[in-house]
């Protein structure tokens, strides 16, 4: 059986769907019996999602007027 430390070392690959089938099965088996590692893997998964969602929020960026002018000039 994998130790908790080993499971956590592979948590990101697991959350990304990487890793060999054998190691994925071992991690799943470990998580069946380990609430702590289940929490850790879930935190890792949520962190990935939050990073993605956070990076995809466009803050109210204003285009530099010089660039916009250049863009308009091109399409004339």
């Amino acid at each position: 059986m994998m130790s908790c430390r080993e499971v956590c070392a592979q948590a990101q690959d697991y959350a990304d769907g990487h890793g060999s089938n054998a190691s994925r099965v071992k991690i799943r088996l470990h998580m069946l019996f380990c609430r702590n590692c289940t929490s850790f893997v879930d935190q890792t998964r949520q962190t990935g999602q939050l990073a993605r969602q956070s990076l995809n929020k466009n803050s109210d960026t204003v285009v530099d007027p010089k660039l916009m002018a250049e863009f308009k000039k091109r399409s004339e």
Binding site: C4, S39, T47, A51, L55, L67
Partner: protein, 204 residues
């Protein structure tokens, strides 16, 4: 917005499309340039130069790669040229061990036999809009990302933000795919640890 669609709209002089493209790509572009040139001010300049080249080259884009990849290829070339001119070593190396503090922090939470000594709590599902410490989660996460080492920021933006593959990122930044993964894992683990602290603090 679909990639080829975006190019067509830009070619047609659609100003809304240009504003959208700028708002969605520029933050990642500044991060990637920053990792190569090493200064935020220079990175902003490189991103600006890239946009000028993109505007000037719109008719030359042939669709051999995606529009986004084309923009980032121009950016990384410009950033490299700039870094060389400024006498910087353009090879993005893994930051030395001090950068692995996230890993050390995690290691300290296990007993010698590999069992947890300081186990994590179960998070309920956290949405980007959830308020933590007076701010929305996505803003907190953005703030954490802004403080990551430059290479980690660049890789995270390209992979999670721009959906580029580890292989594409590796060749763009001159790293091995393995290094890209290491940077990515360190970045995510650092974000997880910071969130873990924020969440624990908000429950007190």
């Amino acid at each position: 917005m679909a990639d080829c669609d975006l190019h067509t709209r830009l070619l047609g002089g659609d100003e809304t499309a240009f504003t959208e493209a700028y708002a969605s790509l520029n933050p990642s572009m500044v991060r990637v340039a920053g990792a190569i040139v090493g200064s935020n001010a220079t990175a902003e300049e490189v991103a600006q130069e890239t946009w000028l080249a993109v505007i000037g080259g719109l008719t030359k884009f042939e669709g051999k790669s995606s529009f986004k990849n084309w923009v980032f290829a121009i950016l990384s070339n410009k950033a490299r040229t700039r870094a060389k001119r400024d006498g910087r070593n353009v090879a993005l190396v893994l930051e030395p061990d001090e950068d692995d503090s996230a890993q050390n922090t995690l290691n300290a939470r296990f007993n010698a036999d590999g069992t947890w000594s300081d186990p994590p709590a179960l998070w309920e599902e956290i949405t980007p809009e959830r308020i933590l410490a007076g701010r929305q989660t996505w803003q907190i996460v953005r703030g954490i990302i802004d403080k990551l080492p430059p290479a980690q920021q660049a890789i995270l933006s390209l992979l999670e933000g721009e959906k580029l593959s580890a292989g594409e990122i590796a060749s763009m930044l001159g790293l091995s795919q393995g290094n890209v993964r290491v940077h990515l894992h360190r970045a995510r683990e650092r974000i997880r640890q910071t969130l873990e602290r924020e969440i624990a603090a908000s429950k007190k």
